[in-house]
């Protein structure tokens, strides 16, 4: 008896998530995803055999190619500082929604405001990959631990939007720049949510079409609705970076094409393959992808920077000092919950051992209480357990209550050997959460 709904952001249950048995370090995952074009201009020739536009030499871009961008420019020519800038680096590394989580940035923002930097740099390195079956097969083969399904990560998109919005709201008074060390999957929304963006030479921006996989439904109209809603929300985040519709569409929708015309310092993105300078996406199978070179050539990125000092050079600051307290807050915070997470996996392995004596029930209860406490202390810890093994705070509560009843049952049996029956309890322990790879 489902009520009639006009709802699009479906619950997670609607998405067929792979409960991958094995999570691990989020840094790198094996990928079967084709690499984005390396950026030779014009990029990939149309796959369908249509004649590609003739190659032209890219126009000579110069520093400060930023005439029409929204936001406060980080270029030295615009900030006009009379001293070397104090640069505050905000890391965005690891899993979206887990490592890159609002609780960390609350602390970072508080610190940043005390530090009063001249310039803010977001450093993004988050490669969640795409949600294709091949990708997950590769993950399984590699037996990586703690891998989260990219679609599961993508499902947190409204939280990512709210965080991006908050960071914009708090930091738009500062000249801000995004430095992408690598971005695959849902993290691309952050790579493109700030107008001034640089990339590391090996960086990619790809796989944002994972958003399109969040939809579902049994007929064409519901599929179109879900697709439209999810991609609309994703494009909204890119809108924070002032990215135009044609580009946004091509980045989130596999069925869209992308090419570019260059006019002076401006890039005119086109939703077809007729752009006279660059053809980026000719296929209906995957969304547009960018290597650092292609991004730089097309003006998607402001430039390619080897490292921080190179980035500062490109912005026009031969001299600068970094404020690294943001890095420390980020690392300490994530290291703390990850350390606890590693420990907790051992606790839960212990929890799942078959138990022999009633006394062991008490120990199992203690383990769950420790887990419960850790869940309360760190939302990231909680999110990691939920997204890797489906364990939630409510399930912990239920398990604890179930064990309590079993303990009571044993006690009753012990006390009242001649009395009334103690009822249920005893025997096997409560069903545990999904164990690591068992």
């Amino acid at each position: 008896m489902n009520p009639l709904l006009l709802v699009a952001a479906v619950t997670l249950a609607a998405v067929p998530f792979v409960q991958d048995p094995a999570p691990a370090a989020p840094e790198q995952a094996p990928s079967t995803e084709p690499a984005p074009a390396d950026g030779s201009a014009p990029a990939a020739a149309p796959a369908d055999g249509n004649a590609a536009p003739a190659a032209k030499a890219p126009p000579p871009f110069t520093l400060g190619r930023t005439a029409a961008k929204p936001g406060k420019s980080p270029y030295a020519t615009d900030t006009l500082l009379d001293h070397p800038p104090r640069v505050y680096v905000i890391p965005m590394e690891g899993y979206m929604g887990v490592d890159i989580h609002p609780v960390v940035y609350e602390r970072v923002l508080r610190d940043l405001k005390e530090q009063k930097p001249d310039l803010v740099v977001f450093r993004l390195s988050s490669s969640d990959g795409r949600g294709s079956e091949k990708y997950m097969e590769a993950v399984n083969e590699a037996q990586k631990e703690d891998k989260i399904d990219p679609r599961r990560l993508a499902s947190g998109i409204t939280d990512y939007r709210d965080l991006a919005d908050k960071l914009h709201g708090e930091l738009d008074d500062y000249p801000t720049v995004m430095y992408v060390q690598d971005s695959r999957g849902i993290s691309c929304v952050y790579a493109l949510a700030w107008p001034y963006m640089f990339m590391a030479p090996t960086a990619r921006i790809s796989g944002l079409d994972v958003v399109a996989e969040l939809g579902g439904g049994n007929d064409a109209d519901i599929k179109a609705k879900m697709f439209s809603a999810w991609t609309g929300i994703a494009k909204g985040i890119l809108g924070l970076g002032g990215r135009p519709q044609e580009l946004c569409d091509a980045l989130v929708r596999p069925d869209r094409k992308l090419s570019a015309d260059i006019d002076g310092r401006n890039t005119k993105w086109r939703a077809d393959t007729a752009g006279s300078w660059y053809v980026i996406d000719t296929t209906d199978e995957a969304a547009a992808r960018f290597s650092s070179k292609l991004a730089e050539d097309t003006g998607l990125a402001d430039g390619v920077a080897e490292d921080m000092s190179d980035l500062m050079s490109l912005l026009g600051y031969p001299e600068y000092t970094t404020v690294d307290s943001g890095e420390k807050i980020f690392r300490d915070s994530n290291a703390a919950w990850r350390r606890r997470y590693r420990e907790s996996k051992k606790w839960m392995e212990e929890f799942q051992e078959p138990w022999e004596t009633p006394q062991e029930l008490g120990k199992r209860k203690q383990i769950l209480e420790k887990m419960q406490q850790a869940f309360k202390q760190s939302p990231q810890f909680a999110k990691m357990w939920e997204w890797t093994r489906g364990l939630t705070e409510d399930q912990l509560k239920l398990l604890i209550e179930e064990i309590q009843e079993q303990i009571r049952s044993f006690q009753k049996q012990k006390q009242g050997s001649g009395g009334r029956s103690g009822g249920g309890g005893g025997g096997r322990g409560p069903a545990g959460p999904m164990g690591p790879g068992r």
Binding site: P3, L6, T158, D221, S228, G232, D394
Partner: protein
Amino acid sequence: MRLLASLAVVASLAGSAPAFAKAWAPQNAASQQQVKLQKGTWWGAVGDRVEITVKDMLASKVIAATVQKIDTEKGVLTVEMEADGKKTVRPILLNSILAMKTVGGAPASGGAPASGGAPASGGAPAAAPTAAPTGSASPAKSATAAGGATGKPSGKVDAQGFQLDEQGYRIAPKKGVFRLPWKGGVGQTARAAEIEKLALEADKWGPGQIIVLEIDSPGGLVTEIFKIVDTIAKTRERHRVVAWVREAISAAAVTSMQCDEIYFRREGALGAAMMIRGRDSVYGEPLDRFRDELGAIIEKNGRPRAVFEAMVLSKPVLTYTKDPVTGKPTFHDHRTGLPGEVVLSDEKDNLTFNADNALDSGFSKGTANSGEELAPLLGLKEWYEVSDYGVKVATAFQKLFEECEKDFQLQQQRLNIPRAGGAAEQIASQIQILEKLLQWNKRCPPCIEGQIGERGVEQIEKQLKELRKQLSDIRKAGS
């Protein structure tokens, strides 16, 4: 039918509601202002002779003084007074003032009295903020003509300490908005009820107020949409209702299109309004009625039906072109081939707007990511929230709903936990849990009914009755 009956009202108001936009432009706002005291308010100006009752340790004392400066932001009133036979200038913290009364003053002022609670009478009414100069197409004039707020203090205050004007409406210190965070599922935490409550609150300040619905919703129940349509239509008879969109998907998109104006946040998304049940689209009579009735209302609200159609089904096409001379955008329900035509939704797509294309096509009236950015778009000098009632009401209900929803799921699972004390304890525990669910139903019916429907509640009651009987039988047998 109810919906169709409201059409005429909407139509007749569509033109006039925005006219209130500039209502209540104080003529003498620079000199006259409302000052919030510890309890109540005082209305007056620099130069007024006043009697101020201030806290003095555990007692209070009355000071006769002349107002030199009013700084409401810092909460400081600077006065000139006589102390020990000498004139001296002193700052007084507003929150230390128990009462304040004008006893005479600058020729242009007068000042209504105020005291801690509610002074019923006192000085002459101030020559307070009035409507915009006669002759202009003043919305304030419209409001006054209709028996609306005049902005002229009557010298009376209401029970909450607000100054009242000659019509008995509260006087706001400056023109502002009534904000309602409209968040979560439509029919769950985003409801018609809160819009209605806020409209009633805004009524206290007279017609022509600006109600801002901060929309952040993934959509929800169709049944609620029809309530919302009615509520917004009625509210628009008195006030200007504005949608400010972060996420307005599905039913929330339809809600936004009932408002006088739509503004986007930069990350905003609005659209995808197909009617669904579970994982299937709903076709046939329910969809036809939905399209016909809501399409007609949206059209009467001044928005093309084609926009709504493109949000419902994937087949309808929506494009727009701009007049090469005026730049005025026009929507089309087919491809025209005109130069510069932008396709918003093709034959396979369902339409969702983002901030840029909504603005460019004229669907939205502007983009703003903060109150400060939105204020000038609304025609306000600055962002000022006249009352925090909407925020409080919405936040409280959202909190209650979330708590209920979370606990409901937990309690349901608790039903299955085997209890140590045998059958009687098992049943007693189940009774306790079901009673808790019914308590939730009393506290937050939309939450429980949303989960299990009205019939589900009836079933719980029935189940509870049976369990109580079973427990009673077990206890009788045992005794």
